[in-house]
Each structure stands twice: as structure tokens, then as C-alpha cells.
Amino acid sequence: MRDFEYGNPSSLKQAIALLGANFDQAQVLAGGTDLISLMKDYIVTPRRVVNIKGIADLRGVHESAAGLRIGSATVLEDLFERPAPLHPFPSLRTAIAGVSSAQMRSMGTVGGDLLQRPRCWYFRNGFGLLARDSQGRSLVPNGDNRYHAIFDNAGPAYFVSPSSLAPPLITLGATARVTGPKGSREIPVAELFRTPRDASEREHTLGPKDILTEILIPARSRTLRNATYEVRERHVMDWPLVTASVALRMEGKRVRQATVVLGQVAPTPWRSQAAERALAGKELDEAAAAHAGDAAAQGAHPLSRNGYKVQLVRVAVKRALLQAIA
């Protein structure tokens, strides 16, 4: 691990002042479950690491008329252990439970889950976020891409967004507060993510001097029927192969409005408007859920080894929908 400076600010203002003009100069440390591994493997080598867990304002869960506010440095286990605020959001609860082990949940933070780097094995083995060889060709299409993207994968990015919490948060209409040197702004959680188009871009929209400070799940989302379904090879300590999160505004047995977001299938959390359209106005039963699953799989472009994920999209969406109305 390269030597680095360690900043331990007690206020957000101090923390932002300690950040640099680019990510090589400084990186934010929260739970450290991912950053430290990346540093030990020399995948990222920041000159300074800024710990934000000492900033009291960034931790905690608060319910208000506006909704549920979750500080970005809140540890997942703290959120998980408080069933009352999460009660309306089984979708989020399932996603947190899926972050295993208990040790990971006890160290890892909400912001850390949202902003963790992709797990693409070419990236993690030192071939860069865009997984290119020395001639600049992507290694993914002709390589082992069993865990890579099936949507939005025309290149140069083929990795998948690994966040467990983003799909449920996006379906619940959550917003993210981002604070930088010029003040703070509130954006939909989906807008934290982007598909990089070249090596100068990252998979997140945050600038090097920005800190994700808070997530707000609006109060109106409490009445949404919602669920997350994750397909996993192993029961615990494994990444989902595909995740589907759904949130439904119901009118009796009919779906008035649906939001369907997939995880682990694209460089960003992947919203499936085709599935949403397939559900709108429909009475939700097994056939309608399966139909929505098929719709969600439309437009997938599997690579050489990840065609199975198309089937997993179908079944994950179907099962999430049926769980939401169960």
C-alpha cells in the first residue's frame, strides 16, 4: 500500500477542504471495506485518505414529515437493526440483509454501498475501469464476462453497478444530498450513477471534492408496495447475479404506476421502463408478473458468457413483483 496522509475531520466543511482536485489526491474513507482492499492491491493510490466517520452529522436515521433521512455514513447494521423506520420498505431491508457478512454490514455504510467501485475482475486485477489491454482494446467481450453487463454494454464500459441499495432506493424515489465546496444539492439517487464513455469518467457523477451526505426516502413512498429479489449462487457472502427491485402504486388489484430497477446488469442501476409500461394499469397476477419479467429482459445484449443473466432478469422481476403484492 502506498503511503498516504490521513485526514480525520470532525465537520463536513473540514472534510471537503481536505479533498483534492482529483481522486488521486484524496479519497473519502467511510467503512473502508472496499477502499482499503483497493489500496492494498494498488488499484487506487490516493495521496490522502479522508475519514468521514468522525462527522456526527453524517450518521443516523431520522423520520420526519418529509420522509426518512439516512446519513451517508450510517452503518448498514445500524439501519438493519431498527425495524420501525424500515418497516414500509421491505425492498430496502432485503437488500441490506443481502449485504453479507454481518461483519460487512457492521463496517460498511449506506454511502459506501452506493459509491463502491465495480467488482469487474479485470478492473480489480489492474486492467483499469474500462478493462483494456495495452492496445486499448476491451478485454471483456472476448474474455470471461459471466458477471458482466447485459444492458448498456456497447462499450467501452462493460462492468456492472455493484450497489445493493441503489435499486430499491431508486424505485422508492429516494434522493441523495451531495455537498461540495459550493454548497449542497439534492439529486435523484439514479443520478449518482453514469456509464463512463471514456477513461476520464468514473461510474459516479460525484466530483473529487463532493461528499454524499444523506439519502432521503420521501414520505409518499411509504404507501408503495415494494420488494427486492436477488439471485445468488451462494446464500451469503456472495454478490447477487441479478437483482430486481420494484415499487408499485396500487389501485385495488391494479397497478397504477410501477418502478422497476435492476441491479448487476448494467454499468448503472438499470431502470426497465419496458417492464413498467407492461405493468401500468394491469391487474397484477403471476401471468402479468411473468409478462413484466419478459418485458424487462427485452433489449438485453448478452455477451459471450452471460446469456443466463437474461433469464435471471425475467425471474427476478417476476418474483419481486409477486413478493411486493404478497
Partner: protein
């Protein structure tokens, strides 16, 4: 005189009982000191520079910048300029520094230039490997007339099957701590060969140390599974760096180098044809198989078909493929799990084609299984009872509505397990305390406990009446622990040594009891006239008669106490989600014989561990190589997947312990139960979903592909 023969069941107080391992509390509480826990004063940490390429020539190597870094103390080069490195992870040099981080940073400051050379890292495409000149046919066997056999066959089943390269994944990685005291070398090393390691150090011209000056210490271990027989380049490096720097050096492998270079299990792929009569009698076999174990020419020839060696007409060919991957090492039951999977899957497919219950099909054909046929029959029947096979088995493809399909599958296996040669020394002190010492090692299997049980039983003492000393080469030499040879070796040498010591004691006390030694026995902390507890003196009183001189007696492995050759039957029950391809283990039944069992509990634990290890390679494990970069894509515990507790299901173990089996003496157990799980689980999956998943591990991808739901691009 006491006799070395194992006591009959009626006279056993400890042997064959269920006894917890004696070092359990130390391990569970963290007091046990593993190699990594050894921290002599002034310790340095070493890290290795290894090849990032699958094949390259080193054209330049400059360590000066690294050596100038403050805190960097020594550099040791294995492969310098002009040498070729043949796989990602091939050793180049090691650096010792004041901290692990500094050592790693220093490794990265070494300037090394490579001329990259052509490579192949994947053996799946045999034609490509052949074109590349990387293949060698190792074994071609023919017996009977295969062509005529297939003509006679009324039903022929054909399939392709594959099991990939995996690694050992010892919980404790490889490594050592080396410390010099003048011209003496002390090493703490995680090794399967405590007594043999000194000789390896002595062979190095860089160390220039006679074996007699090397002390090897390995009190506890986190597994070896066949990967830790040698001191390895990294063991040599720790000692050489310690010598150069004049300070102790610790070199333990991280998980990445561990997975890249510390051993792998060869793959096996092949096309198999089986011919049978409509009544289920197998009449013909033909297999064309290949596999890779890295750059060495290793092979699985001679093991296909597995167990059913007496199929009248059979042909088999095996081709070894050289790939630029980390070298193969013995992996728990070398070659058997691979051969077992290919054979039992092919036979299970034949049973399905015949519409037969595979249990009936296997039972029908056991006459082709050689000398242990009757034992397999008994074991299969016992396993069927514990699995409730007849109630659970159904023809291929569970017809239950819904996505969850259940199925059962079976397999049988065999192993040798003859105890290795070795020595043990028993010392009886005048105060009645006893120590038993042998230069063996406890890989985590319970060896220390087994020695304790045998010595205590022999001397009529409780377990805590004996101090067991192992894991140090100052004790009488014992063999390497591999191939299930330890328990036979140490139980017999301990029995002989303790009996020899006891006989000296009996000779001392016989006059006081007014009898001769042959009329005496050691029972319940007493020396007594056989069958007459009234005529006795306590153990302590007896030992007090030694005056000031302890009794010391040696013992060597004794063939009358041990034997070789076991069978085993396993059955697996799975549920498979046919919409997601996720396989869930419901239950494993493992029925196993291994002669006389010293400790039922540690023996049963061995079988549990084997079933878990087998579940890992059946469902998750695979060393994934990338031909574009020549690198391993999953050298970590994140994507090199092993089962977690929730993934293993119920495991039911039944040890065969009837008097006929026990009369064979002690036989090793480490390997056999890990052979069948891949086959049994794969057959259970086929039974559940109605089609064969031809390649392990059976990941959701492969299960969905087999079901035709994979949507290949």
C-alpha cells in the same frame, strides 16, 4: 507381557469412542500459535515478486532502488536475468523489510523487464493445445474388445463431462518464519512433513546448513490437503533472507499468490461412451480424456473407468495438456475425484437411458467393481436407508409443479490409506507422568488426539495422563502426512512404543506382585494381575519403583496393526430452482469404512469436512483463467467461491464398524470421503432437473445452459 495387538472391543476404554480433540479449546480460544503467530523479536516481513505474465523471459532486473529504501533489509532472487517464467505467479524474488507494507512497496520498486512469450492457460480446447504442441498422450489402455463390446450393447450412452482446475484453499496459507542462532536455523513452518523439512533446507547451497542444525516446528496447522509437502521457494527465501539480514523473517503467502502458485488440482475433461444390455449389464466402456496440471506432464490415466475396472470391453485414452498455469500438487485423493465424477456421471446417464434406478443399476454391476464389491453393496444399502433413497428417487426430472425440483444421486469410491513408516518414543517417568513423542504433524485432522488415545489406552491411563509431543523434528521421525497415511503410521508406532515401555514397567513390578510380567495388565491407572483387580498396585506406585531413571521405549510402524484399501458410498439430495439455476444442498449421506477407528468423533469430522469440500467443488470452485491476459481472474475469496455454512445442507455420516472391518486394523480416512461428492451431487442435480449438467461447478450459468435457458449470445 502386554501384546501390541489392538484390544478387543470389550476391552477398549478409549479407542473407538467419541472423543473431542484435545487441542480444541486452545484453537477455539485463539491460544494455539500458528506459524503466522510466531513473532520473534526484530522480525522482518518478506514479500515476493512474481511474474505478471503467463510466459516470459526476464531480460532485465534491477533491485537497487528497492534495496535503497529505508527499512528494506535483504533481497533474494530465485529467477534472474535470462530465466523464463512459465505462469502468472512464477517466483522471481523476495524482499525482506521492516513491515509487510514496506516489503510490498519495495517489491513494486524492483525494475524488471520481460520479453513476453507465447502461452496457453486454458485446456478446454484440446485441438488448440494439440496444434500448439502442448499435448502428450500418457496412457492408452484396452481390455477385451471394445468394438465388439459396443456391438453387443443394446443401449449406448455417450456424453462429455468436465471438471476444472481448482486449488487447495487451505484456511492457513503457506509460509514460514525463519530465525538463525549462529549456524543453527530455527523454522516455524506450516508443513505436512515436519520430519523431512530439515533435509530440504540442507540441500540449499544458499543456506549451507546441515540438516542436523535445522529445527522445524509446526505445532498446529490450518490444513494442507496435499499442497504443503515441501518447504517451497518461499520457505527457502525466508531462511535465506534471514541469513542475509541477520534477523528473523516471516514469509506467509497472501491469498492471491496462494491461489496462483501454491498448488492446484488438475482438470479432467472427456468424452465417454458406455454400452449396456437392456437388463442393465454394462458391457463396454470407451473414454477419451484430457486435462492439465500446469507445465508438468501429469495425468489421470489408469483411473478411467473408476472402480468399475472389470467392464469386459473397455478402451481409454488420456492426454496431458501443458498450460502456463501454476503447478499441480497432490490434492486430497489425487486424481480420484476427477475420475470418479467422469465415471459415475457417465454411468448415471446410462442408468437414466435404461430407465433404471441408479441404485439398482450400480448394485447390478458391482461384480465389475473388483475385490470390494460386497462392501460397496453393504455401504450402498446403508446409504440408501439413511437417505430414504427408495422413497426419494424418481425417474429423471422431478415432475412436481413449480420451479423447485428435488433429486437424489449417488456415487462410490475407493482409496488405499496404508500407514506410513515412522517412529514414536514413549517415556514413563518415575513420578508416573508419561510423554509420547513423534515427529509427525497434525494438519487439523486430530492426529494429536489419536496419539493420545492410543497411548492412554495402551497404558491404562486417562487422556490427561499422557503428554503428546509432535510437530517438531527433534522427536523421532515420522512420515509426511499425505494420502491418508498418518493415522495408520502414528497409531501403530504409538501402540508399539507404549507397549514396549509398558512391558519394561511390568517387568519391574512383577516381583512385587508375586507374579511374572506376562500375568499383568495396565488398567484404570493400575497395574494388576490379569482379571484380578484385587492384586494390583497403582500406576504411580508402579512407576515409583523406577527409582530415578525413566523408561524410554521406541516403537515403529507395525503392519500387523494397520491395513489398506477402503470403500465408501455417498448419496446427495438437492433442490434446484430451474428458473434461476441455483442448486441448494439438502442432504449428504456418507457411508465409509476405514478399518478400526481410533476416535469416532475426529473420524466423523473428517467426513463432514470432506463433504463440505466436495460441495465446494461441485457447486462453486473453479480457477478461472483468461487466455487474453494469461492471468487468473479470481485469485481471491470473493470470486474463487467456497460454500458457506448455509450452502452445505445436512450431512449424515455413518462409519462402518463391524468386527470384520475392525479386525483389519487402522486405515487412513483423509482422502476417501472427498472423492464422491462431485459425482453424487451432479447425479442428484440431473435427477432433479432431468438433464445432465456436464461440467462442474454447477453454477446457475451452467444449470440454465443445460436446461436450454441460457440464451447463448
Amino acid at each position: 507381557m502386554a501384546n501390541i495387538a489392538w484390544p478387543p472391543a470389550s476391552k477398549r476404554g478409549l479407542i473407538g469412542k467419541s472423543i473431542s480433540r484435545i487441542d480444541g479449546p486452545e484453537k477455539a480460544s485463539g491460544r494455539a500459535k500458528y506459524t503466522y503467530d510466531q513473532n520473534p523479536v526484530n522480525l522482518l516481513y518478506a514479500k515476493m515478486l512474481t511474474s505478471p505474465y503467463a510466459h516470459a523471459k526476464i531480460t532485465a532486473l534491477d533491485t537497487s532502488e528497492a534495496e535503497r529504501m529505508p527499512g528494506v533489509r535483504a533481497v533474494y532472487v530465485f529467477n534472474g536475468v535470462g530465466k523464463e517464467v512459465n505462469w502468472e505467479g512464477h517466483e522471481i524474488l523476495a524482499v525482506a523489510a521492516d513491515s509487510e507494507e514496506l516489503a510490498e512497496d519495495a517489491v513494486r520498486r524492483v525494475r524488471v523487464e520481460f520479453q513476453q512469450l507465447p502461452y496457453l492457460v486454458d485446456d478446454a480446447d484440446l485441438a488448440l493445445a494439440t496444434k500448439d504442441g502442448r499435448t502428450r498422450q500418457l496412457g492408452a489402455e484396452t481390455s477385451g474388445d471394445p468394438a465388439a463390446g459396443f456391438q453387443q450393447a443394446e443401449v449406448t450412452s455417450e456424453g462429455n463431462y468436465a471438471i476444472p482446475v481448482i486449488t487447495h484453499c487451505c484456511l492457513e496459507s503457506h509460509g514460514s518464519v525463519a530465525q538463525w542462532a549462529g549456524d543453527k536455523l530455527n523454522v516455524w513452518i506450516s508443513t505436512q512433513n515436519v520430519s523431512g523439512a530439515a533435509g530440504e533446507y540442507a540441500q540449499s547451497p544458499d543456506l549451507n546448513v546441515p540438516a542436523s542444525n535445522v529445527n522445524v516446528d509446526c505445532q498446529v496447522m490450518g490444513g494442507g490437503f496435499g499442497s504443503k509437502f515441501g518447504i517451497d521457494t518461499w520457505g527457502l527465501a525466508a531462511a535465506a533472507l534471514a541469513k542475509k539480514s541477520g534477523r528473523p523473517v516471516k514469509l506467509m503467502l497472501d491469498r492471491k499468490p496462494e491461489l496462483l502458485m501454491a498448488g492446484s488440482r488438475p482438470s479432467l475433461r472427456g468424452k465417454i461412451r458406455v454400452g449396456a444390455k437392456r437388463d442393465g449389464t454394462i458391457v463396454a466402456w470407451d473414454s477419451d480424456s484430457w486435462g492439465t496440471g500446469g507445465m508438468g506432464v501429469v495425468g489421470i490415466h489408469g483411473l478411467l473407468p473408476y472402480i468399475f475396472r472389470d467392464i469386459p470391453n473397455r478402451g481409454s485414452r488420456y492426454t496431458a495438456v501443458r498450460t502456463n498455469t501454476g503447478p499441480a500438487r497432490a490434492w486430497r485423493a489425487p486424481n480420484h475425484p476427477q475420475a470418479c465424477f467422469l465415471t459415475m456421471a457417465a454411468l448415471d446417464d446410462m442408468a437414466a437411458k435404461l430407465g433404471m434406478d441408479p441404485l439398482d443399476f450400480f448394485l447390478k454391476n458391482l461384480s465389475l467393481a473388483g475385490e470390494r464389491a460386497a462392501l460397496y453393496q453393504e455401504e450402498l444399502q446403508k446409504a440408501a436407508e439413511l437417505m430414504e433413497w427408495k422413497a426419494k428417487w424418481h425417474p429423471r426430472g422431478d415432475k412436481t409443479p413449480g420451479p423447485i425440483k428435488r433429486g437424489v444421486g449417488l456415487s462410490i469410491h475407493t482409496w488405499g490409506g496404508l500407514g506410513h513408516d515412522g517412529y514414536c518414543r514413549t517415556t514413563i517417568h518415575p513420578d508416573g507422568s508419561v510423554e509420547v513423542a513423534t515427529g509427525t504433524q497434525d494438519l487439523g485432522t486430530g492426529t494429536r488426539t489419536v496419539i493420545n488415545i492410543v497411548a492412554a489406552e495402551t497404558l491404562g491411563l486417562p487422556l490427561d495422563g499422557i503428554r503428546v509431543e509432535i510437530g517438531d523434528n527433534k522427536y523421532p521421525p515420522d512420515g509426511a502426512s499425505g494420502g491418508s497415511t498418518t493415522v495408520g503410521g502414528v497409531s501403530s508406532s504409538t501402540r508399539v512404543s507404549a507397549t514396549n515401555a509398558l512391558n519394561q514397567l511390568l517387568a519391574k513390578v512383577a516381583p512385587a506382585l508375586g507374579t511374572t510380567p506376562d500375568k499383568l495388565e495396565a488398567v484404570a491407572e493400575k497395574i494388576q494381575v490379569i482379571g484380578d483387580p484385587a492384586k494390583a498396585i497403582s500406576w504411580k506406585q508402579a512407576c515409583a519403583r523406577l527409582g530415578t531413571t525413566p523408561i524410554v521405549a521406541m516403537g515403529q510402524r507395525n503392519m500387523s496393526l494397520i491395513s489398506s484399501g477402503v470403500g465408501g458410498a455417498q448419496m446427495a439430495e438437492v433442490s434446484v430452482d430451474v428458473e434461476t439455476g441455483v442448486v441448494h444442498m439438502e442432504k449428504m449421506v456418507a457411508v465409509q469404512d476405514c478399518g478400526l477407528i481410533i476416535d469416532i468423533k475426529t473420524a466423523t469430522s473428517q467426513v463432514y469436512g470432506a463433504c463440505i469440500m466436495g460441495t465446494c467443488y461441485a457447486l462453486h470452485e473453479e480457477k478461472i483463467m483468461d487466455q487474453q491476459t494469461g492471468t487468473c481472474l479470481n485469485p481471491n475469496m470473493e470470486f474463487y467461491k467456497l460454500s458457506g455454512l448455509d450452502d452445505v445442507g445436512d450431512i449424515v455420516v455413518h462409519m462402518m464398524t463391524d468386527p470384520a472391518i475392525e479386525s483389519r486394523g487402522v486405515i487412513g480416512l483423509g482422502e476417501p470421503p472427498v472423492i464422491s461428492p462431485g459425482a453424487a451431487i451432479a447425479n442428484a442435480v440431473a435427477n432433479a432437473i432431468g438433464v445432465r449438467v456436464p461440467e462442474l461447478p454447477m453454477t446457475p450459468e451452467r444449470v440454465l445452459d443445460a436446461l436450454g435457458k441460457g440464451e447463448m449470445a
